[in-house]
């Protein structure tokens, strides 16, 4: 078991290294003096000198990478050019907002989609199955930002039930905070429902074809027991992989939703950073999001044996 975990971790490390390399490369590829980019146009000569020394610009690129890497590992990601805040606490703060919304949406979507997909597979080719597939395909085809706009229009403006802009953190006022996040969560849930339902249905159809399902029925088990005990566990594994991927991707894709609902999340932070040429912040965001993606997939890998014991522990 420990061997399995350490093996997986070991395989993830080179990926993380390569990603850091890529992030480092992206920033260095921007034309111009790196120190100037880090500090902004308004910096004075003295700070520029200090930064140049700190970045190790007089040394070779690999050494610069090591210096940068060391700084990152010790938590120093620089300071935002626009607000002068330390980058790490800033991005972590914003990340909380995005992560909260993403996690809740994906969980909700999974809770609805997996049973729906299983049910549709059980009643394959019936009119129920057809409507489930049709709905899922439609939901899959709707861009999240458009759906967000529509819901905002419908519930925020026309009906006036929910606030249109802004955000309040849960720590301050839970009920009010809820009203701000309901629409984004509903939007995201609806969009992800499509993909997860289709995947759950497809893998359930595969599983229901197999002989051990007939065997379970031959034992006299009710259909419900067959679906729950036998089909679900085996069908869930590919869906789990999909959910992991979705989680990771959403953290970057949520930028559009945060724009629509004006939420202070990490997606919008990234976009603003690009507009403002705030490279330290951009770098920090890139690093955080990609690292989380790798970690989430690692977690999914580790959970996989729970659902498919054939994967060697």
């Amino acid at each position: 078991m420990m061997r399995f975990i350490s093996q997986r971790l070991a395989m993830a490390l080179p990926t993380l290294l390569l990603i850091s390399l890529m992030v480092f490369a992206i920033i260095r590829l921007v034309p111009g003096d790196p120190a100037l980019l880090m500090l902004g146009d308004m910096a004075d000569a003295h700070s520029l000198e200090v930064t140049r020394a700190a970045l190790g610009l007089d040394q070779s690129l690999p050494v610069q990478f090591l210096i940068w890497g060391k700084a990152v590992l010790s938590g120093d990601l620089g300071h935002s050019i626009t607000t002068n805040q330390a980058v790490l606490p800033l991005i972590l703060d914003r990340f909380q907002v995005s992560a909260g919304i993403v996690l809740v949406s994906v969980l909700l979507a999974a809770l609805i989609a997996v049973p729906a997909g299983l049910f549709a597979a059980w009643k394959q080719n019936s009119s129920l199955d057809f409507s489930v597939v049709a709905t899922a395909t439609l939901l899959l085809s709707i861009p999240s930002f458009w759906l967000g706009l529509l819901l905002l229009y419908g519930f925020g403006i026309k009906l006036g039930w929910l606030p249109v802009v802004g955000y309040v953190s849960f720590g301050d006022a839970p009920w009010q905070a809820l009203s701000y996040v309901v629409l984004p969560i509903v939007t995201l849930t609806l969009v992800e429902l499509g993909a997860i339902t289709r995947m759950a249905r497809a893998s359930a159809i595969e599983v229901l074809r197999l002989e051990y399902i007939t065997h379970a029925r031959a034992k006299g088990l009710s259909e419900g027991a067959v679906l729950w005990r036998h089909a679900l566990r085996n069908a869930f594994a590919p869906t789990l992989t999909l959910i992991g991927l979705i989680l990771g991707n959403l953290l970057s894709g949520i930028a559009v939703l945060e724009t629509v609902f004006t939420l202070p999340g990490i997606g919008r932070l990234m976009v603003d950073a690009i507009y403002a040429r705030d490279y330290p912040v951009l770098q920090g965001c890139l690093l955080l999001v990609t690292f989380v993606y790798v970690l989430v997939n690692l977690l999914v890998d580790l959970l996989y044996p729970l659902f498919d014991p054939r994967v060697k522990l």
């Binding site: 051990y212 065997h215 029925r217 031959a218 034992k219 006299g220 088990l221 014991p309 054939r310």
Partner: protein, 547 residues
């Protein structure tokens, strides 16, 4: 036996595929008395599996019963309420299936799966269930029963899985056991084990068996009654002795004729020296690759030696895991031995300059469904080996392809067809044609008939004989079934666990086997022999058969 005494009574059963599809089962009638063993025998498409499913009420959706009835202990299964039917399933009627790979749920432990049926149908406590499971596992020969309960199916071999499934079904002591080709996917030794176990367990409980099979000789040993099916209809039924001694229907006779028999062998051409020499060959397979450590190798073939003379057929026989396929692949160049030498016409085949071996040594693979490229038509498949013939014009190639197609029993019109348009037997003919199109001197046939129906197997074996007489190639015929090789092998080599344990001329091996493993294989082979008057009987075997 009146219908009211019978345990299971199938009356004029008709099963249709969909509301207006064709009939999968047409007017089938037979009865099973308590404790009786009835075999439903037929080839693919005969409807036997569908009849078995109907007997437990588990017909897959497009199929439905459109006429007749299936009565269990007098009650019609088709008109029962679902809850009542579920109560019968498992408790009164048990079923075991064909594919050991997918018949057990891979994500539940053995213990959970065994307990499931008992929890549903009996009042035993968990402790009692566990005790019974352990006892049963010990009974079927599992060494460490405790550990088995917490293990997963993929940790066991196919034969073990079938026995576990059998055990868990019999734990509920059903009155009727439906066995749907439970041994077809196993090699002959494992087959025997599973059959023995099945008979033992059912005899103890007085359970009747409905045994579905495509192999008449398999059921001949112990079935009381046989129903022969073809294309949905029962062509003949009766006691096993009567069927064997005096088969009435033409089809039954065909099935019996299909069992391979010893016959005259193709005479060998004069030769000066062996065509192929395998000398002390050892082959290793890499084990699972670990991230940090080096890969460990497992020795699969230990110091194997054999020779083949030109024009001769050497049968290489053994159970699964014996290394016979690995050795065969090494002869044709798909594996590399780590020790020993393989010499073709005196020259070591591992020498890079030996192109002759590549050209003269061809292979026929086992699975007709995956040995042909689905994107190429038959003409292209047969023409491909001719790429390496330096002096053939396009016209000559076309002619050779056409000639080969006719020789293997297909016509020239097959040139434009694609593999998926052909049946299994036809595809295997194409595979044989592909191996022979260059007139090689040696052909390795890796279980070429195992995946086919009995009557088709006979046709392919006949084809083989004819082609060998015509083309004069030597053959290394790999098989797990001794019966199949009895007909065409000049000499037989028996392999067990990577070693060649016995080798000799055909008649000696079959009449006077020395090694215990050879005897075991013989015991598992077909026991039928033809009598003077045209009937068959179970042949007295040189080895005591414990059935």
């Amino acid at each position: 036996m009146t219908a009211s005494d019978a345990l299971l009574s199938v009356e004029n059963l008709q099963i249709r595929v969909g509301p207006d599809g064709h009939l999968a089962v047409d007017d089938l009638s037979f009865t099973i008395a308590p404790g009786e063993i009835v075999a439903l025998v037929g080839e693919s498409g005969s409807g036997k599996t569908m009849a078995a499913r109907a007997a437990i009420g588990l017909l897959p959706p497009p199929l439905q019963i459109c006429g007749g009835a299936v009565r269990f202990q007098g009650r019609d299964l088709n008109t029962m309420q679902p809850e009542e039917l579920r109560g019968i399933r498992g408790a009164k009627i048990g079923m075991v299936f064909q594919e050991p790979m997918v018949s057990l749920n891979p994500s539940l432990t053995i213990g959970e799966q065994m307990a499931e049926g008992m929890r549903l149908h009996t009042q035993y406590s968990d402790a009692q269930i566990r005790e019974r499971s352990l006892k049963m596992l010990g009974h079927i020969g599992i060494a460490d029963a405790e550990r088995c309960l917490t293990s997963y199916p993929h940790q066991f071999s196919g034969g073990m899985r079938q026995r576990i499934m059998l055990a868990s079904v019999m734990l509920l002591r059903p009155a009727l056991l439906i066995a749907d080709e439970p041994t077809t996917a196993l090699d002959c030794l494992a087959q025997l084990d599973v059959l023995k176990l099945m008979l033992e367990l059912t005899r103890e409980e007085g359970t009747a068996i409905l045994f579905i099979s495509h192999d008449l000789s398999l059921v001949a040993r112990y079935a009381h009654k046989v129903v022969v099916m073809r294309e949905g209809k029962a062509v003949e039924q009766g006691t096993i002795d009567r069927i064997l001694l005096a088969p009435q229907a033409e089809y039954t006779r065909q099935l019996l004729e299909a069992l391979p028999r010893r016959g005259e062998l193709v005479p060998l051409p004069p030769a000066d020296g062996p065509l192929l020499e395998v000398d002390g060959v050892c082959i290793e397979h890499p084990g699972p690759r670990s991230f940090w450590g080096r890969t460990q190798y497992k020795r699969v073939v230990h110091s194997a030696s054999l020779t083949i003379a030109p024009g001769e057929t050497l049968a290489l026989v053994g159970g699964s895991g014996s290394g016979k396929t690995t050795l065969g692949r090494a002869v044709v160049g798909l594996n590399t031995p780590c020790e020993g030498a393989i010499r073709f016409q005196g020259v070591d085949i591992l020498k890079a300059a030996n192109r002759n071996h590549r050209l003269q040594c061809q292979m026929i693979f086992q699975d007709p469904f995956s040995s042909l490229d689905p994107r190429m038509n038959i003409g292209e498949i047969l023409a491909e080996p001719l790429r390496h013939e330096p002096n053939m014009s396009a016209e000559q190639r076309r002619e050779r392809v056409a000639r080969t197609l006719i020789d293997v029993g297909l016509g020239e019109q097959y040139v434009d067809r694609f593999p998926h348009q052909l049946s299994g037997g036809q595809r295997q003919r194409v595979a044989i044609g592909r191996a022979l199109v260059r007139h090689p001197k040696l052909v390795i046939a890796d279980e070429p008939i195992s995946a086919l129906d009995m009557t088709i197997q006979k046709q392919i074996l006949e084809l083989f004989e004819r082609l060998q007489a015509q083309y004069g190639f030597a053959c290394l015929f790999i098989s797990h079934d001794l019966a199949a090789v009895e007909r065409i092998a000049h000499r037989v080599a028996v392999m067990s666990q990577g070693k060649v344990v016995e080798m000799g001329p055909r008649n000696e091996i079959f009449d006077n086997p020395q090694h215990p493993y050879t005897r075991k294989l013989l015991a598992a082979a077909s026991p039928l022999e033809k009598l003077e008057g045209g009937g068959y009987r179970i042949r007295p075997s040189p080895v005591p058969v414990m059935l």
